[in-house]
Amino acid sequence: MTASPAVVATRLSKSYRKWGKTRAFGTLKSAFLGRGLGAALSPSEVVNALSDVSFTVARGETFGVVGPNGCGKSTLLKLVAGLFKPTGGTIEVSGKVSALIELGAGFHPEISGRENVVINGIMLGLTRKEIERKLPEIVAFSGLEDFIDEPVKTYSSGMYVRLGFAVAVHVDPDVLVVDEVLAVGDEAFAHRCLDTIADFSRRGKTIFFVSHSLALVEDLCDRVLYLEHGKTKALGDPREVLAKYRMDVADEEGARLARAQGENQAALRAEKTGGTGESAALRAERTDARREREIFSEGEKGASATGAASATGAPQPHSPFEEKPPGHQESVQQATTPTASAPLEQKNPPAPVEKPRRWGSRAVEITGCRMLDASGAERYAFRSGESVTIEIAVTPRAPLSDFVFGIGIFTPEDVCVHGTNTEVDGFLPSRLDGPAVVRVTLPECDLGTGAYLVDVAVHSRREAPYDYWRGACRFQVDAPDRAAGVYRPGRRWTFQGPLALRDTRDGK
């Protein structure tokens, strides 16, 4: 192994020419008839896919590239593979490159797998002798012994990819470029691919690895480049770079949720004021709200006939936060057993499968709902274990003394993670005379990574909803590790007996 690096990129830039909207490609006719050949070939706009990216990959290093879609990853790979030429800067790659950019690219559907392997191998730079010597090994690796003489068009997509991977790794490259190829193929084959990549790494080969699977990148890579909008955002230790990337993704998600929340609130305000400039959409929503109210009053009359009420699609007027999650189960029933409820639907129009967003008598109205962090700032992206506060603003139509405030946290799959209300937590209502703000803080919100929905509600102590709002807020939780599940408690491991483990946690 020599000390010279495998890949050196210096101020690497790549821009694409973007043509006008009216034509995807030039035509010779227009070039001659119109503005001349020069004008036809000159782009109307230039898009920078990659700008000023520099890095060096040492021989034997596994180098990861991460970033959101469109950040320039694929462009970078194509530059490394030599498929594209840089528009600025230089890239030097020493040794033979094999790109697993699209496996089986170049297979011809009509001819047999064996012939395709030979052609593909020669295309990737092997001589005819070499490929023929390696053929049995390639066939064995792909596990397609029984099909190798069939035309490739009869292969499943998984078989196709397996054969393509088998050829690409047997080309024995010095630099292996892997682009998100492990997402295809079955579990067993994916493991074999990873083993092969690990084996390459052991043999001192350089690997250029692109994946959206951050866990895989963290496992495999020695260093990671994080690209954003074609620029280097971070470069270095996988843990640090990936932590930064995860943080950025969470922040972005948070910003998006905050925006969505803002729109939600605006819609709500517009609904409340019902001004002259009201949009059709909001009017429609208002009508919906009125209908919900009507449905509710109907449901209230037949409060004991819970089965019937649920079958008609009206949410049941009972507290969501005690033994049953509110409306969710009814919704599920609606969705899964539409035929069973059919006879009961004669009076009402067929129950819509979609779940109502909001219902209740509006004796107390929820005028706003937002989420706050420990410092009291509005936020919709949290790290696991952080303090999370849900804030509800309410306005009663008239002063009243019978009220319960409740919140519920759900996964997008409608699994209730947690539900509680003031009554459950031991607060008895005595009076509500005007606009008020209610906050509930979860000091250590030990949720696992994922998106969550918040339901907020005000209802009577006899569980008749005043205002029940499903999905009033959406928030995102990110955990620093890859533990699975919605609950992420603190953990402590102890080991006894003849075993040894190496502690690789931070600071050790």
Binding site: F25, L28, K29, A40, A81, L83, V97, E102, I111
Partner: protein
């Protein structure tokens, strides 16, 4: 460019396997197999023979027997027109490949031209049978046969180089101008009639028209094919010079143009 040309020589094995793949894939699953490649020229031969021997009779003696005369021109023409048509679209149809595998792109138009060349070779036994009948005098006046036939070998090479050069140019152009294929189809029809395929050049009465047709770069090739196959006369060295010059200029110019645009292919296809 010279470096790339040398690289191309290293990739001759690739051209070989791709040509055989092309032919295998084309005929796999069809009962008649490669005879399909004979069927088309035979059909054209039948149609043109009927039209020009029975509907518009009165050929000059230099073109009879007309069926044989026509066949000796039609076969190399089919190679030229088929090769150019396939070469022009070779890069755009294999665009996915260019974006994903690093290999010299010129392989693709060259494979297209070479595959059509193989079709030409596969049709030669039919021409041989025709020649045998012609020599025996079955088709009309007996045609001469002799050693000038061997001229077909260098002629085959030169036409291959000539068509390859034009094919490289058209392939590169088609990447950036998608209407080249359509223009080419029309252009080939025009070129067909401007080339001595249906007629012999000496039969043209008008001096000026004959002079104009001599400017057609394909004319020397088709006159030469006739001399080798039909008239059994030796081609003068200066005509070989012209043929070699045309082939080399077409190839080098086509290759230079292709080489110049090479880097733009993976992005533009």
């Amino acid at each position: 460019m010279l470096k790339n040309l040398a690289g191309l020589w290293r990739h001759r094995a690739l051209v070989g396997v791709l040509v055989s793949r092309e032919l295998k894939a084309r005929y796999r699953g069809s009962v008649l197999g490669f005879f399909w490649s004979l069927l088309n020229p035979l059909l054209m031969l039948a149609v043109y023979t009927v039209v020009f021997a029975f509907i518009f009779p009165g050929r000059s003696a230099s073109t009879s027997p007309y069926a044989l005369f026509l066949f000796t021109g039609l076969l190399p023409w089919n190679w030229l027109s088929g090769g150019l048509t396939d070469a022009a679209s070779s890069l755009t149809t294999h665009g996915a490949l260019l974006k994903k595998i690093l290999f010299p792109a010129e392989v693709l138009p060259l494979v297209a031209v070479a595959a059509q060349g193989i079709h030409f070779l596969l049709a030669l036994p039919v021409l041989g049978a025709g020649l045998a009948l012609g020599v025996a005098g079955v088709l009309g006046p007996a045609v001469p046969l002799g050693w000038p036939l061997v001229q077909a070998v260098p002629l085959f090479v030169l036409e291959g180089v000539f068509v390859a050069g034009l094919g490289l140019f058209l392939a590169a152009l088609t990447v950036h101008f998608r209407d080249v294929k359509d223009i080419l189809a029309t252009g080939l029809t025009l070129w067909f009639f401007a080339t001595p395929v249906l007629y012999a050049l000496p039969d043209i009465k008008s001096e000026r028209l004959r002079a104009a047709l001599l400017w057609n770069p394909a004319t020397p090739f088709f006159e030469a094919w006739r001399d080798a196959f039909f008239r059994a006369t030796w081609i003068a060295p200066e005509r070989w010079g012209v043929l070699a010059g045309l082939a080399l200029v077409a190839f080098l110019a086509g290759y230079a143009f292709f080489d110049r645009l090479r880097d733009s292919f993976p992005e533009a296809v």
